[in-house]
């Protein structure tokens, strides 16, 4: 199943080895294997209740697997808290952005760097984010709840970048955005990717996601049913029928 892995011999940055999770008695993820290599852009597709969110939560340590291993840089991190993974370069842009609405834009960005202590580096990164999103600079002291959807998306991505991630998990990045912003958002993701950050994207918008991704997985009721390059997935008749709205 792993013929699609592009990097020969390199250690994956983040990996699932036969991971199973339960919520109470409900079996969510079933023997899931995933591997994200440094600098990749990969996507996870799946319908509602297929286990996409649980996958993200497990990667971040908000859900502990009942069996199997979550591996970060070759180290099993099942029992390590979320903060350990954040320090080691894993972070997420949550679904619907989830900014701290009552805090200012600047405070939101600073919280992204909560675990860092290098003042100089933080200031540098803030500057970088203002360059990436000039609109954000104009709104620094505004409460983030007052921003428009597109601006909130910028702050959410900026907040995630403030932890200097090596891999950025994105939960439904185009959800709730105006159609015009979706394209812009995908271009942004590619730009961040081009700076060397690996991206793991969970998306309903399979067409768009596959058009920029290197590889992808398809999750169905907690099981990985397809694991291939983006081109191959695009061409897969089964997938076209069920996710790309052709049939």
């Amino acid at each position: 199943m792993s013929e699609a892995v592009p990097t020969n011999g390199a250690t994956p940055l983040l990996e699932f080895r036969r991971v199973n999770t339960h919520y109470g008695a409900v079996h969510i993820l079933k023997d899931v294997d995933l591997a994200i290599y440094p600098g990749e852009l990969v996507c996870l597709l799946g319908g509602n209740a297929s286990g996409k969110s649980t996958t993200l939560k497990t990667l971040l340590g908000m859900v502990t697997p009942t069996s199997g291993e979550v591996v970060l840089d070759g180290e099993v991190v099942n029992d390590k808290p979320t903060s350990y993974r954040v320090i080691n370069g894993v972070t997420m842009v949550p679904e619907n952005r989830r900014l701290f609405k009552r805090l200012s834009v600047k405070e939101n960005l600073q919280l992204g760097a909560y675990l860092r202590n290098d003042k100089g580096g933080i200031a540098e990164d803030l500057e970088r984010i203002y360059e990436l999103f000039p609109r954000v600079r104009e709104r620094l002291s505004q409460k983030s709840g007052t921003l428009s959807g597109g601006e909130q998306q910028m702050v959410a991505i900026g907040r995630a970048l403030m932890s200097r991630p090596r891999v950025l998990l994105m939960d439904e990045p185009s959800m709730g955005l105006a159609p015009a912003l979706v394209q812009q958002n995908f271009e942004l993701i590619q730009q961040i990717h081009s700076e060397g950050v690996a991206i793991f994207m969970v998306e309903q918008n399979a067409n768009m996601a596959l058009s920029i991704a290197d590889r992808g997985w398809v999750l169905q009721t907690g099981r990985v049913v397809l694991d291939d390059t983006a081109e191959a997935l695009m061409a897969n008749p089964e997938l076209r029928a069920s996710y790309l709205g052709e049939g």
């Binding site: 320090i87 949550p94 989830r98 701290f100 009552r102 909560y114 932890s163």
Partner: protein, 376 residues
């Protein structure tokens, strides 16, 4: 047909409730307006027909009396505010009212009594009062913080994921436990703080305000504590983490914030403020028992709701407005109306303020209206 009659019945009941609430609104507003008008008339002409009818003995207030009421209201109110902060902060972070917070305040007052008695016995109280004051404040902060953190650990953390009603009821239990624990340790007799040294407690005149030194001390210490708290919450990394946790625990954890530790910090900071409030209470009213925490606690909770619960500036403003209202309103609104025994009606006034705020602005004076999404 039965569902039909059921809906009309409940609609009729709703209408009745609405009419009742409107009646209370109109009644209270009318009471305040008439009281104020009667007060103004009385100030202009003490022998006017309304005053002759309602309250022939009233002589109105002199400017100095009014300033006196204002000062006592402000100092009392700033104590309510200090306690209210604890209610508001815990509500902000965990979404329930910690009714045992009044006991945290009482522990502070009690600690202050024990320490100040020792200081008085060895003569330090008179010789170096400022040092003693700092020491008792420090000790009260220490013990109150310890009490608050302990109750979070023992009583509330195990209930973190249960419905909000359960920690709320637990907090009533914790409150009784602490009251009786202190009763068992120190007995039921009222304990009195040593007198403040004369140089501090004497009357002084500031900007034409005649103010007792004790009240001045209360106002200064309360203001300093407030500024420190504001700095911690708004300007430090810990404060930012507290506000983030109050808003969204899951995302705060995603930022790498230790949510449990932040909740403990919140209880600790609220406890420290209550400790300072306890000392001020002891210095001003001088008598402390195991029940000291009850009424100030309930008043401070009222203040937090009046200001808009979850909002720190609101808690402080709520405390000060409540203190001022209960000090001024009896003389200004109730006496001209001929209500007997107005000086006994402080508590009634305080809770009427609560009713008024809930009727006219349920989210509190400074509360933001919660969107449906926030409430969920």
């Amino acid at each position: 047909m039965s569902t039909h009659s059921l809906t009309t019945k409940s609609a009729r009941r709703l209408a009745a409730v609405d009419r009742f609430l409107t009646f209370i609104r109109v009644f209270l507003v009318a009471l305040i307006v008439i009281g104020l008008l009667a007060f103004i008339w009385q100030q202009i002409d003490a022998d006017n027909p309304f005053a002759r009818w309602r309250n022939p003995d009233a002589r109105g207030l002199t400017g100095d009396q009014f300033k006196g009421l204002l000062i006592s209201g402000l100092s009392q109110g700033s104590m309510y505010g200090l306690i209210a902060l604890g209610y508001s902060m815990v509500y902000g972070v965990l979404g329930f009212i910690n009714f045992a917070h009044g006991e945290v305040f009482m522990v502070g007052a009690m600690t202050g009594f024990i320490a100040s008695e020792k200081f008085q016995a060895n003569g330090m109280w008179e010789q170096n009062f400022i040092l003693c004051l700092l020491l008792i404040i420090l000790m009260a902060i220490l013990f109150s913080t310890f009490t608050a953190v302990l109750m979070e650990r023992v009583a509330y953390r195990p209930l973190r994921n249960s419905p909000r009603l359960i920690p709320l009821i637990t907090s009533i239990g914790v409150s009784f436990f602490i009251q009786n624990f202190v009763l068992g340790l120190f007995g039921p007799a009222s304990k009195s703080y040593p007198r403040l040294p004369e140089w501090l407690s004497k009357q002084r005149s500031i900007l034409t305000f005649e103010i007792a030194g004790t009240r001045l001390l209360v106002l200064v210490v309360a203001a300093v504590s407030m500024v420190v708290l504001w700095y911690v919450v708004e300007r430090t990394k810990t404060g930012k983490a507290m506000r983030a946790v109050a808003e969204d625990k899951e995302i705060a954890a995603l930022m790498g914030i230790d949510v449990n530790r932040t909740i403990v910090t919140t209880f600790a900071v609220g406890g420290a403020m209550a400790g300072v409030g306890g000392i001020l209470w002891g210095l001003m009213f001088r008598s402390v028992t195991h029940m000291t925490g009850f009424l100030p606690g309930v008043k401070a909770f009222t203040a937090a709701v009046v200001g808009g619960i979850g909002n720190l500036g609101g808690a402080m403003a709520g405390g000060i407005s409540l203190g001022s209202a209960e000090s001024i309103a009896p003389m200004v609104i109730l006496e001209p109306l001929g209500v007997p025994g107005v000086s006994q009606l402080k508590d009634a006034v305080a809770f009427t303020v609560l009713v008024l705020v809930l009727l006219f602005k349920p989210s509190g004076l400074f509360g933001e209206r919660l969107s449906a999404e926030d409430r969920a």
